[in-house]
């Protein structure tokens, strides 16, 4: 195949194989915990993270992005535990503030266009070193998924129930959101702020429509995420489109297809 001749495409392909299962696995619990809005606003907090990096004179703002997203995530867990505000309201405030702050800092003197690549992302820019780093992130997520999944799962079902089984609820939640913060921030340069949340939400949402238990849920989410990632990457090559957004469209197609079994009874009723 033509696209396999290029090193940047082969690297991008490897990156997709590493990164899509991470998003799919974490996404299953993001959807179970109804945190879609949280992960969306976490992506937006990258604006402020980048801006802080610029102010501190960092050449690569990744450190400041991860640090800021980490602070946002931990604050979210603690505020959710301590206050009676609906999490939606807290997240809305966080999200709007971090976008505005980032844009204000980055647009000083009309220089925002320099950073617009973060909006759409560029997976073809990934280097071999970054791919090695990604495989370590995948390994870390898998280890976490083996050791702590049951705890995380019980916390998502009912926090008091989890507590009654001796689970450290707040710590479990904090580690989970920190993992999301790291993977989202690391991947934003390749996927883009605008669509990154879809990689977390769509595979899990599609898998949810088909799965009967946690095993099929995780398996389907990873499969859908991988397939959509590979198909999306290849299509983006031939169409000359942004890879991140094309992958998201593929995921969306899987999601629509996953609705078909549920729609069938409706169609049958209208026919009769």
């Amino acid at each position: 195949m033509e696209w396999t001749q290029y090193l940047f495409m082969r690297n991008a392909f490897l990156a997709i194989i590493l990164v899509t299962p991470i998003f799919a696995l974490l996404g299953t619990m993001v959807v179970n915990n109804r945190m879609a809005f949280f992960s969306d606003s976490l992506g937006h907090s990258a604006f402020t993270g980048i801006a802080l990096g610029v102010i501190m004179g960092l050449r690569d703002p990744l450190i400041s992005m991860i640090a800021f997203a980490g602070i946002v995530s931990i604050s979210f867990c603690i505020i959710k535990k301590l206050t009676r505000f609906s999490p939606d309201t807290i997240i809305g405030v966080f999200s709007a503030t971090s976008i505005a702050l980032g844009v204000v800092i980055l647009s000083r003197g009309g220089g925002f266009s320099k950073y617009s690549s973060f909006l759409i992302g560029d997976i073809l820019s990934i280097t071999s070193l970054e791919i090695i780093a990604l495989s370590f992130v995948l390994l870390a997520v898998l280890v976490y998924w083996f050791l702590f999944f049951n705890n995380l799962f019980l916390v998502s079902v009912n926090t008091v129930l989890a507590k009654s089984r001796g689970i450290k609820v707040l710590m479990t939640e904090i580690i989970f959101v920190l993992l999301i913060a790291v993977i989202v921030m690391v991947s934003i340069q390749w996927i883009g702020i605008l669509v990154i949340n879809a990689l977390l939400i769509l595979p899990a949402a599609a898998a949810r429509n088909l799965a009967m238990n946690m095993q099929t849920y995780n398996l389907l989410a990873v499969t859908i995420s991988l397939l959509a990632g590979i198909i999306g990457l290849i299509l983006s090559y031939y169409w000359g489109t942004a890879a991140g957004a094309t992958i998201v469209l593929c995921n969306a197609t899987f999601f629509l297809a996953s609705l078909l079994p549920e729609l069938r009874p409706l169609l049958n009723t209208t026919r009769t």
Binding site: V157, V160, S164
Partner: protein, 239 residues
């Protein structure tokens, strides 16, 4: 000899006092019913005993055979934060609460056996492969009871749901809990919304409204003046 002692237990938020000076003895082998109006602090009381929220005062477990063992608490929540489309099977939920082996990888034979054993105690083994969202209110309650029983608790805290269970099922549920409490000799506190059933199955009743208003046999509590003011409809009231 085993029993629970609660001494001067209070829960405060920065704005108000939710529970004030709760002093209680909870005995093994019998059901204690906890009743009170909405917002009386019943769920908060459970959260404090579980350790989910900070409290002042003491919660002491006396066990003459094993004096230093921490009590195991089984908890049946009133509601679950899951929607009907959740891909969570009964087996997933019950396995995850007894083993570290991730339920997305496999359910080992040993774990399955233990889960089925406790499901059969609550007559729900046929529900193991079903999704939580497909269960009726009564079935979900039985499944949650099976979860709370494994491992066998020293204290069972049961937050009964509002009207999710029909009357025949609810009576069956109370009688099931009564049998379990006697057979396995543990203590149980039920937040009850059905005063009639609470009176029939509980030996002790606590009437709570931020502080203990009245405690004794159901007959004693029903005769209490404060109780009659709060529930003028008498024991047929849904509370």
């Amino acid at each position: 000899m085993k029993c629970f002692k609660i001494e001067k237990l209070s829960v405060e938020t920065n704005r108000n006092v939710i529970l004030r000076d709760i002093n209680l003895h909870i005995h093994n082998g019998e059901i204690t019913a906890l009743v009170g109006p909405n917002g009386a602090g019943k769920s908060t009381f459970f959260k404090a005993l579980i350790g989910d929220i900070p409290y002042k005062g003491k919660f002491i477990y006396h066990n003459s055979l094993m004096p230093h063992r921490k009590p195991k608490i089984g908890y049946v929540p009133q509601k679950m934060e899951i929607d009907s489309s959740s891909p969570i099977s009964v087996l997933d939920l019950l396995s995850a609460s007894v083993t570290k082996i991730p339920v997305w990888v496999t359910h080992t034979k040993k774990v399955k056996l233990s889960v089925y054993k406790f499901l059969s105690i609550v007559k729900a083994e046929h529900l193991a492969e079903k999704r939580l969202g497909d269960l009726s209110g009564g079935e979900l309650q039985r499944v949650l009871l099976a979860l709370a029983l494994n491992p066998l608790p020293d204290l069972l805290l049961l937050d009964e749901p509002f009207s999710a269970v029909d009357q025949t099922n609810l009576e069956g549920f109370y009688s099931l809990v009564e049998n379990l409490v006697r057979e396995y000799d543990f203590a149980a506190i039920i937040v009850s919304h059905d005063l009639f059933l609470a009176a029939k199955y509980a030996r002790t009743m606590i009437f709570l409204n931020h502080s203990i208003q009245s405690v004794g046999t159901p007959e004693q509590v029903f005769a209490d003046e404060k109780f009659c003011q709060t529930f003028p409809q008498g024991i047929r009231a849904e509370v």
